[in-house]
């Protein structure tokens, strides 16, 4: 765990949060974080090293506890989870706790809400915030009563001394406690886990009432006096620019105020910069949309205008049929393949995907002499602040980023291009501006999940045991978005299912193959684990069928016995391991085997299959969490594959909010089904061919299985990720079930494009 200490809060900071000045306030100052976490966070998204102060807790004179949530709420329930760690350590009554959403500020440490790391990063630091305040309140009470602090306990918003049957409410202790020296967080005792009364249970959904009444404010819902709305015609091809445009018809639309040409991105990569294009600014969204439809723009489509998904697929396929850069090596794969009794070989393909969060990108900005204030549904408020400052050419200190609710994020809203657009337009118009992306903009101008090809070859001995394993992966890497020249997958991306895959085979080699990018590549929920798990888990199923053996037994055999796989065993210098230490979060094959055994038990894997129904299995470790999935499929009246039932068993280590963990896993099944059945973004002439949910469908209610069973393994291991790791095993489990049902092997996704 990072080094940290607790400091008293600056008054100005409190005022900025809208909290009463006075009372007791605490924050955590962290040392520089260790290795950058995966998915790779580019410059601008990373935190400057060095000592930072931050604020997380304030207790007002009336005893009201305000806890800052510094991570963005996008459906994972973080506002209902992280603050409870503080409250439980403190001994606070949740009825007297207020949750305050943090603005973007490096003082909070990392705020980039991606990589499934809010709880695993915050579990101990948040407890230390609560424990430190508790120690001070207890000390104040002990001093007042002249009793040893060790005889006092804090619970239900009061400090109690059992021997003398005395109690003082936090309210009555705040003033005295605030005068005490702040103890060193390192020496403050945390409560034993058994004393954390709420943590681990099904915690209530803090924001549920606001959501179901329409009161919750998402980015698109912010309304300021005199606010205008902008809709932007972005270049259809990344790197394209406006040659000229005729705005006469657009300006003639009633309500349209101005047309503004936005600058094209500069530098070696587009990064988080706005894409450029022409903005139509109007008094209503409707007028702006009509104005945009009336714009006539001549584009120079630039260097990416020849990007074509059909030919790119062939190029990816060629890339994985040739040797690539060796990134993992143990034993002698070539020798073992020559000596093998038989080999199994397959190539897999997964297309580009789009996030399509229900809320398309939107942000509100206001610029005046004092600086810029934005309201944004952003996963990464610090990157938003940096990008807005860069776009305006002002110091970051002049930029305030308020974080609204996010109508879904899935990685898209880590990239603040749309926030910078709002800031540029607000300055230009001299009025508050709300930028509204249309769904078409979202589908066509996003940061896409990488298209990929995977080649796998296995050598089997006479008994069928895998002795050699060769994996080649090719995909345009995320770093290409920040430096267009980069075409080799990064170590962090390879750490998502290639470098960290434990195998029993003594001879293993993995190679990364080059693939240049022609669109903005971005991380999407579970990132490269999507295609790596699809390929590996499908391939192991293929080996099982080639051997006419039970896929579960073969999967367990290929993974090997319960053990902690070391970098030496894996054949790598270092396992990226999502930025976590391998000692704290080992590659624990025993935990993966356990979820496989448990999910096959729950799903009746060994029972006779009903006619017309088949099961498929897949398992994958990602974001330090172990997940196994069994899908049951049959055919519907039209002969299309239907997913009838899904079982998912996850071991995410220590759990804070059990109901939200269940909810994330249920949602991951549906998200994974959309990838398996529907998702495909394709390019022609450098532009996206899909437009909206009509041609980029996602799962709807009639496709949802009758039952999604989720079981969470009880564990006291350090917390792993929750938001993403449920996704990767879903598509291969479905594809494996489809093979069991139809004998058609889906080596590419989505299944609907194969007529399944």
């Amino acid at each position: 765990m990072e080094q940290q200490r607790v400091v008293l809060l600056r008054r100005s900071f409190l005022a900025g949060l809208g909290l009463a000045v006075g009372g007791l306030a605490l924050g955590v100052a962290e040392a520089a974080p260790p290795a950058p976490p995966a998915p790779p966070t580019p410059s601008g998204a990373t935190v400057q090293p060095g000592l930072r102060t931050g604020v997380f807790l304030h207790i007002a004179p009336d005893g009201t506890v305000s806890i800052v949530c510094h991570r963005s709420e996008m459906g994972q329930g973080i506002r209902s989870s992280l603050p409870v760690l503080v409250a439980d350590e403190l001994g606070a009554d949740m009825a007297r706790v207020k949750i305050v959403q943090a603005d973007g500020d490096k003082a909070y440490g990392d705020q980039n809400t991606d990589g499934s790391r809010s709880v695993r990063g915050g579990y101990e630091p948040m407890r230390r915030v609560g424990a430190t305040a508790r120690a001070m309140l207890v000390a104040a009470a002990a001093r007042k009563w002249r009793v040893p602090a060790a005889e006092c306990v804090a619970q239900q918003h009061a400090v109690h001394h059992a021997k003398s049957k005395r109690s003082l409410d936090f309210r009555e202790l705040v003033a005295d406690a605030a005068k005490l020296p702040v103890p060193d967080a390192e020496t403050v005792a945390l409560r034993p886990a058994s004393e954390l009364k709420r943590v681990g249970g099904p915690l209530p959904l803090l924001d549920g009432p606001a959501i179901v009444t329409g009161a919750a404010q998402f980015g698109a819902d912010v309304r300021l006096p005199g606010m205008l709305t902008a809709v932007i015609a972005h270049p259809p091809v990344v790197g394209g620019r406006v040659v000229r445009y005729d705005g006469a018809r657009a300006l003639a639309v009633p309500g349209v105020k101005r047309l503004v040409e936005l600058p094209a991105p500069k530098g070696v990569g587009v990064g988080f910069q706005p894409l450029g294009g022409v903005a139509v600014v109007a008094d209503t969204t409707w007028a702006a949309m009509r104005g945009r439809a009336a714009l006539e723009i001549v584009w120079d489509h630039g260097e990416n205008a020849s990007y074509d998904s059909a030919s790119y697929r062939e190029a990816l396929s060629r890339a994985v049929r040739a040797p690539g850069k060796v990134v993992r090596k143990v034993g002698d794969v070539d020798g073992a393949l020559k000596a093998a009794a038989r080999t199994v070989e397959a190539e897999y393909y997964v297309p580009h995907l789009a996030h399509v969060a229900m809320e398309p990108p939107s942000a509100v900005a206001k610029v005046d002499a004092g600086g810029c204030v934005v309201w944004a549904p952003t996963q990464n408020p610090q990157a938003a602040r940096t990008e807005v400052a860069r776009a305006l050419g002002v110091d970051e200190g002049k930029v305030t980023v308020h974080v609204t609710f996010l109508g879904g994020g899935f990685g898209r809203k880590s990239k603040p291009d749309y926030v910078a657009e709002a800031a540029l337009l607000a300055r230009e118009l001299g009025a508050p501006v709300r930028v509204q992306w249309t769904r078409e903009d979202d589908v066509q101008n996003g940061y896409f999940h990488a298209v990929s090809a995977q080649h796998l070859t296995a050598g089997l001995d006479a008994s069928g045991k895998v002795t050699a394993w060769l994996h080649r992966t090719a995909f345009p890497p995320i770093p290409s978005t920040f430096d267009a020249k980069v075409k080799t997958p990064s170590e962090n991306e390879l750490g998502l299912g290639v470098l960290d895959l434990a195998l029993s085979a003594p001879n293993v080699r993995a190679e990364a193959c080059d693939a240049p990018a022609h669109v903005r590549i971005g991380w999407l929920r579970s990132v490269c684990n999507i295609f790596h798990a699809f390929a590996v888990q499908s391939f192991i199923d293929e080996i099982a069928h080639a051997r006419q053996a039970d896929p579960r037994e073969v999967l367990l055999e290929v993974l090997g016995p319960a053990r902690k796989a070391t970098p030496a065993e894996l054949g790598v210098d270092k396992v990226p391991n999502y930025g976590a230490s391998i000692e704290q979060h080992p590659v624990d094959v025993g935990r993966l085997r356990h979820v496989i055994e448990r999910v096959t038990e729950l799903s009746g894997w060994d029972a006779a299959r009903k006619a017309g129904r088949a099961l498929g299995l897949a398992a994958h470790r990602s974001f330090l969490t172990y997940v196994a999935v069994v899908a049951a499929v049959s055919k519907d009246a039209l002969g299309k594959v239907k997913v009838d039932e899904v079982w998912l068993v996850a071991d995410p280590g220590t759990v804070v909010n059990l109901d939200r963990v269940h909810a994330q896993m249920e949602g991951a099944v549906v998200f994974g089904m959309s990838i398996a059945l529907h998702g495909a973004i394709t390019m022609k002439g450098g532009a996206v061919e899909q437009t909206n949910f009509r041609d980029y469908p996602v799962v709807r209610s009639p496709e949802v299985p009758a039952r999604i069973h989720v079981e969470i393994v009880k564990s006291d291991a350090p917390p792993g990720g929750v938001g993403e790791p449920g996704v990767p095993p879903v598509a291969p489990a479905i594809a494996n079930a489809v093979f069991a049902l139809t004998k058609t092997r889906a080596r590419e996704l989505p299944l609907r494009r194969l007529g399944l």
Partner: protein
Amino acid sequence: MIILKVNGAEQKLEVDPDMPLLWVLRDVLGLTGTKYGCGQALCGACVVHLDGETVRACVTPVKRAAGGSVTTIEGLSPTGDHPLQRAWVELGVPQCGFCQAGQIMSAAALLRKNPRPSNDDIDRSLAGNICRCGTYTRIRAAVRKAAGLPTE
């Protein structure tokens, strides 16, 4: 001028009669509980009731609502405790929450016509409402709970 009732209150509007009801609600009346998700009647985030029937506000010109009565999520229940809203909170349905107003408005219309819906009825009636977070199984359970049916 277009005159209509929104959540029981009469509104006199000087707007383009072709403006979709969605933007009248959000941009003119400031009722932002009804969401924009697709603009093409594909996702259901904008579902409201017009004279008791569900409509997609994003493709309903406001002139079609002239003289009519519109109910949005803000007006579903004056105290925010419609049985569906209660069930939604009790069963922890929402994740990001963006689609849920549309889901609840579709479900409210379903329950008015079919007070004891089967899972298939629910799936069919809500097929036009996308939830990208994937809360569908809890939506099913919450509709059944609101209807007084067993949630399984």
